[in-house]
């Protein structure tokens, strides 16, 4: 296993983070790090514990170990407090609120903002600039949109919370390659703007195009920690998948 870049100004760092469902431990002690301006991809086969890792960081599942964010530990078992620190998740399956309109979903993204209208408008303008299609469909019920539009909405809603780091769980799930490329292009824009992103993804080639670093997760443990440019072929990656 090759070690990734040397430790630097990590914005998010897990320290021996484990997760369990009932009596079953699904995540062995895990140490990962995301630095400012990085897009870090978590790759691995089905059931490797990738989504669980994101849930564990947010405190949505039973955990041990610590998650340090901006140098301070994140509270455990209190997702509201975690999100208040600027750690925002775009969940697998998008988690949009179908019976609500696009605009209401975006308003919910800025829930913590309260009644600061100018700031809300600033954030909304930024989101609509990134995803103009959401602007065209503001009054549409979110549940009636296509999968790609729903994914845009899920990311847009997360951005409305002005995240300090964005956690994304399989944003390409169920999307055509063309739409996946479009979504990933937007993520690359966000990365270039300096937003740290932790991306869980099964479509490794697409993720590797934008990722700075990669962790390969297999059977609930980190099998490899690599710089993205160290992976040049499927074989480079496959060797870690079932180790």
């Amino acid at each position: 296993m090759t070690l990734a870049s040397a430790p630097g100004d990590a914005i998010l760092e897990t320290q021996a983070l484990t997760a369990r469902y009932g009596h079953v431990r699904v995540l062995a002690p895990t140490d990962i790090r995301v630095r400012t301006g990085e897009l870090v991809a978590i790759l691995g086969p089905n059931g490797a514990g990738k989504s669980t890792l994101l849930r564990a960081i947010l405190g949505l599942t039973s955990t041990t170990g610590q998650v340090m964010f901006q140098g301070k530990p994140l509270p455990r078992g209190d997702a509201v407090a975690v999100s208040a620190r600027g750690v925002v998740l775009v969940p697998e399956g998008r988690g949009i609120f179908g019976p609500m309109t696009v605009e209401e979903n975006l308003q919910l993204g800025a829930y913590r903002l309260g009644r600061d209208k100018p700031e809300f408008e600033r954030r909304l303008a930024r989101v609509l600039e990134l995803f103009p299609r959401l602007g065209e469909r503001r009054a549409q019920l979110a549940g009636s949109m296509s999968g790609g539009e729903q994914q845009m909405l899920a990311i847009g809603r997360a951005l409305m919370g002005d995240p300090k780091i964005l956690l994304l769980d399989e944003p390409s799930l169920g999307l055509a390659p063309r739409i996946t490329a479009e979504i990933f292009e937007k993520l690359a824009t966000l990365r270039d703007e300096g937003l740290p992103i932790l991306l869980v993804e099964q479509k490794a080639p697409a993720a590797l195009k934008m990722a700075t670093r990669v962790y390969v997760l297999s059977l609930g443990r980190i099998a490899a920690s690599l710089d993205a440019d160290q992976i040049t072929s499927h074989e480079d990656l496959a060797q870690y998948y079932f180790t």
């Binding site: 949505l60 997702a79 509201v80 609120f97």
Partner: protein, 325 residues
């Protein structure tokens, strides 16, 4: 060249959305014109509309289950009845005290109970309703048990009492409109969006910063206030209260109205309350088969309008599914 006209144009959709309100106005208008028994039936339906509006906030918006709303109606109703008959309080302050007492009870009960989820919450809240019913039966020195309390003054302000059928109906219409307006405002507020978000996914709402426990409790308190107001209205409209008024029957009727009208929609509680209250009257001609016809009609409605009658007209925000992504 022939132009295709979209059947989902904004004007058409707006008109469609007004239909449930128009139909409701028609029913209520009939009550005014006819007076007497029809006015009484419509009046009861309007009292239930207030009760179901509260139930809708908790069940339709936040997707929680409460079989115990009758408890809050009982607390409100009995409090107002006792204060006006035994202690000679004016009606409005007595109703205010009844609503406040119910909200306080909801706060005490809701804090521990709302930690339960799904079926457990349903059973927990059912127990609250059953306990309240037993208290109403057994606490005879205050409630007079099965005999009930009679001579409760009618609705009114100060020395002005609304005694006529039509007068009461007008007052109830105003209260229902105010309740519906409040419900719609809540639905479109930050708090309402939090209700809807936790109704869709508690984890999703939490991840956006919604304090799920606090928001759930808030929805419970608001729905309890509506239930208590309905309880107060009931006792002052009828002039009598007994434990049976706030029994399990009230819960079943409330649920039926909510699901027939449209759970989660603003117009649903009013539409459901009117339809479910009027159906037995419509089927009265069926004599022995009245209950059968009533039951069959409910089943047909729930099969063909599973989200309730009001939802059939609530197409304003829907658009055809995009096909390009």
């Amino acid at each position: 060249m022939k132009t295709l006209r979209s059947t989902t144009s904004p004007d058409w959709r707006s008109a469609l959305r007004l239909l449930p309100w128009g139909l409701s106005a028609l029913f209520v208008g009939y009550g005014f014109v006819a007076g007497g028994y029809p006015a009484t039936v419509i009046g009861f339906a309007l009292v239930y509309a207030v009760f179901v509006t509260g139930l809708n906030l908790f069940m339709g918006y936040t997707n929680q289950v409460s079989f115990g709303q009758n408890a809050f109606a009982a607390v409100g109703g009995y409090m107002s009845a006792v204060l006006t008959t035994t202690y000679q309080w004016p009606v409005v302050p007595a109703m205010g005290a009844g609503v406040a007492a119910a909200v306080l009870l909801a706060l005490v009960i809701g804090y521990p109970t709302l930690r339960l989820k799904g079926h457990y919450l349903a059973m927990g809240t059912l127990a609250i309703g059953l306990i309240t019913y037993e208290i109403a039966v057994e606490w005879q020195s205050v409630t007079q048990g099965y005999l009930g309390i009679s001579g409760i003054p009618p609705l009114g302000v100060g020395s002005y009492e609304v005694t006529s059928d039509r007068g009461q109906l007008a007052l109830l219409v105003a209260i229902v409109l105010a309740s519906t307006f409040i419900s719609a405002r809540i639905r479109d507020s930050r708090m309402g969006r939090a209700f809807l978000a936790l109704g869709a996914s508690e984890n999703g709402a939490m991840a956006l910063g919604v304090d799920v426990a606090r928001t759930k409790l808030l929805a419970f308190l608001v729905s309890a206030a509506f239930a208590a107001l309905a309880g107060c209205l009931f006792v002052h409209v009828v002039g009598y209260v007994s434990p049976e008024v706030f029994g399990l029957h009230m819960v079943i009727l409330g649920f039926t109205m909510l699901y027939v009208g449209g759970v989660g929609s603003v117009a649903g509680p009013l539409v459901g309350a009117l339809i479910v209250s009027l159906m037995p009257e419509v089927f009265r001609g069926f004599k022995d088969y009245q209950d059968l016809a009533y039951g069959a009609a409910l089943i047909v409605i729930l099969i063909y309008a599973p989200r309730g009658l009001a939802s059939l007209f609530d197409r304003a925000k829907a658009r055809p599914r995009s096909a390009d992504l």
